[in-house]
Symmetry: C2
Subunit: 234 residues, 2 copies
């Protein structure tokens, strides 16, 4: 085999890795959407499906992880390609944990289906769920296109999601205080809100890997403003 | 440089990586210990120290991460060494998140210091904190010695920690129902218990990387019994 041929195969392998991440991400998105629907609609059957499907997400993580190790061992890639592979390893860890959180939402949904429904019909969970699901979709889209601007935009949304979450928690706490008989139920809603908020954090992590990958700058653990400054070089 | 010399340098680099993980782990252990002490003793100053020190944990993660990428790019290691480096990358991600959880416990401790103390004096948080701190220490110890038996032992402890956590949550919920004026305070204790339980999960993750590393078997996402079976080959 000539060198071009090998290099072409390697490109294919990297492209393949990226596609696998996108497929895993698609499944995780589906899990989030279904988990939120199961909770807000009191659909226990859908909740069961989400819980049952979590192992698929886990299996995809293990498979992609193995594939990454094989590609590194086989191709001995240069630093820039290596960085892509390390970003893939990190991204799928976050995706797997997003899947765990979706499963948690489904478990809460299964429990809540047998309890009294609040008048709001879990409107706040519906909205928060839509926001983190959009963040997840956009983060994966930015990952596949390696679009730093899009990644920063998505990462910024996490601030809004955090504020939304804080608002929901305050409101839920008021419900508890006003009617202590709701404590058990409201606590389950709190755990679900918490799980959705964590999904937003993981989506933000993925965005940070993109910036690190494209710009070669580690933006983790710094504020959003500093992250943007660092990327813009200003 | 002859080949032995290069290989010796590489061994040093791997040894160095392992030591850095151990140092980062030591800091995380300290953070957990201090966060729990800050909460149970109502020590706001100690809580502030923990919150301030979290950036040290973050910085160590970034440094070790960079070092891992450099070692792979420079040495083009064989599959087995590569697996060690990937295990290091995964382990420090968990350590960093354990640090985040310790910071959360400290934040809860800072808030709780200004509220009425329960008669129990947060005994349950004290005990849970000690258990996850021991798990963390033993997981790191197993990592440095690459001891699969020890790793499985530690991972098994996570089941006990989960049960302990469930018990604490049930008890706290009863407190809330009995006296709704305590809701705000008890919720903070719940978040702290939750954070400690998550630290146990991360310690378990590290143990699973050790098994994967030594046995070359991926034990993530399977039950503890299956994990042991798989390792024992029975």
């Amino acid at each position: 085999m000539d060198k071009n041929h090998i290099s072409h195969q390697f490109d294919n392998e990297l492209e393949n890795l990226r596609n696998q991440v996108f497929a895993m991400g698609g499944l995780v998105e589906q899990q989030i959407r279904d988990a939120v629907a199961a909770l807000t609609e009191g659909d226990t059957e859908l909740a069961e499906t989400v819980i049952r499907n979590d192992h698929k997400v886990n299996r995809m993580e293990v498979e992609i992880d193995e594939e990454c190790t094989h590609v590194i061992a086989r191709r001995q890639p240069a630093a820039s390609d290596l960085r892509l592979i390390v970003a893939v390893i990190k991204t799928i860890t976050d995706l797997e944990r997003m899947g765990d959180q979706a499963e948690k939402v489904a478990r809460m949904g299964r429990g809540l289906a047998n309890m009294e429904r609040p008048r709001s019909g879990y409107f706040e969970i519906q909205t928060l769920g839509e926001h983190v699901q959009t963040m997840t979709h956009e983060a994966l889209d930015a990952f596949v296109r390696m679009d730093v601007d899009a990644a920063i935009k998505v990462a910024k949304k996490d601030l809004k999601v955090d504020q939304e979450y804080e608002g929901i928690m305050r409101q839920l706490m008021t419900f508890m205080m006003e009617d202590p008989r709701t404590i058990k139920r409201v606590l389950d809603v709190m755990w679900a809100a918490r799980a959705l908020e964590r999904i937003g954090d993981h989506a933000k992590n993925i965005c940070e890997y993109i910036v690190y990958l494209v710009e070669g700058k580690d933006v983790r653990h710094i504020s959003m403003e500093k992250m943007e400054e660092k990327v813009r070089g200003s």
